[in-house]
Symmetry: C2
DNA sequence: ACCTGAACACCGTTCAAGT
DNA sequence: ACCTGAACACCGTTCAAGT
């Protein structure tokens, strides 16, 4: 039972501790010293694995980006062959992530994470996952033709802004009481979605409106 | 030349000092103690006017909300009789505000400001300004009919999300180099805007596409 | 009513020192 | 290579005291 400092993977332990702090105490509760304490280590130990607090925050944010990308890919798999549904459920998955873990979502897209190369790479990857989905929607006539990156920016902005306005309670309260988040999302996505194309993959069957 | 403590309006002086700190040092530089120092007062003096730091932040955020509302109303006045243009320029005004004063925009829509009653009232007012604009766009056939609040949520989300993704540099860099912000905004707004209605106010003249 | 100065707990960061 | 403990500067907040 000699002092072994730690279990050998302090870096990931700190990331997990930070995410837990985020869930239990909110953004203000995310502290290098608290994360170290929770990992059972001195307050200076994290500096052996992270250059500074921002580096830890960037690592936690990168996990959040993975979660977003996972939601997109999960929607694609669960609704294979139905690009419209893929897009709607991917967007809904992101909204759900924000509603379930608001503080994790906030730091994931917070400022001051800009410069971390790992974060930027992952952000790029998540965006590309959306671009891929947009492309298949365009092929199916669900989204208007055009540069897929620009359509992805529009959809990304829409979902991201909606999540933040929802979790920050910056929309009129009486509106949120009457209309559930999913309906708000569908209303917002509606203008971007085209009606079923003539060359639908299952001719003779109307595409049901997603609700 | 007796000690007069201050000029009698320390509260507004602190708000201005905070906004200046935001512009010069960024969000991390916004500190109660620095704001007090900049206002020429001891670090405990702010507590005579603000319950805590959040109350000062909420006051600064409220100023940001006024700026947003002003951009909307300014667009309405400058393009009277052209609802489509009013909507586009209002959105562009908000994007410009974000690009010009990114840190002010960030705190304006940051979390942890939720509970302040003055902030909530102002946020509601700004949202209603957008709802009014949406209504006139619907009357002119520029936006699809339907509950104007829900369309306002969609447009609000779109613009808000775009601003944050832009100022946080969370969109692919090579995309931002090729496509200016205004074009991204127009691309994002496009699917929401309808082509000129039959009952256009200036029949015989095609509505020019805003660019 | 408005402000000061000292005090407290907490934070991020650094660094010499230990294994 | 990995971690500790002391130290420093800075922060938000409180409070007795001054005018």
């Amino acid at each position: 039972m000699r002092k072994q400092y730690h279990h050998g993977d302090l870096k990931n332990a700190l990331i997990r501790a930070g995410a837990e702090l985020l869930a239990s105490e909110g953004t203000a509760g995310l502290t290098l010293r608290k994360a170290a304490r929770r990992a059972g280590v001195s307050h200076a130990a994290p500096y052996a694995h992270f250059a500074d607090k921002q580096a830890l925050v960037a690592a936690i944010s990168t996990c959040g980006l993975w979660a977003v990308r996972d939601r997109i890919e999960e929607a694609r798999q669960r609704h294979a062959g139905d690009p419209r549904r893929q897009l709607v459920e991917a967007a809904w998955g992101i909204v759900q992530f924000g509603l379930e873990q608001p503080d994790h979502y906030r730091v994931t897209f917070s400022h001051a994470v800009e410069q971390d190369p790992g974060y930027l790479d992952t952000a790029h990857g998540s965006f590309q996952a959306l671009v891929g989905l947009v492309r298949s929607c365009q092929d199916a006539g669900v989204l208007a033709p055009g540069p897929p990156e620009q359509a992805a920016v529009a959809l990304w902005s829409l979902v991201h802004g909606l999540v933040l306005l929802l979790i920050n309670r910056q929309l009129p309260g009486r509106l949120l009481e009457r209309i559930p988040p999913r309906r708000l999302l569908l209303r917002a996505l509606g203008p971007h979605l085209r009606s079923a194309p003539a060359r639908a993959r299952r001719p003779g069957r109307n595409h049901p409106v997603v609700s």
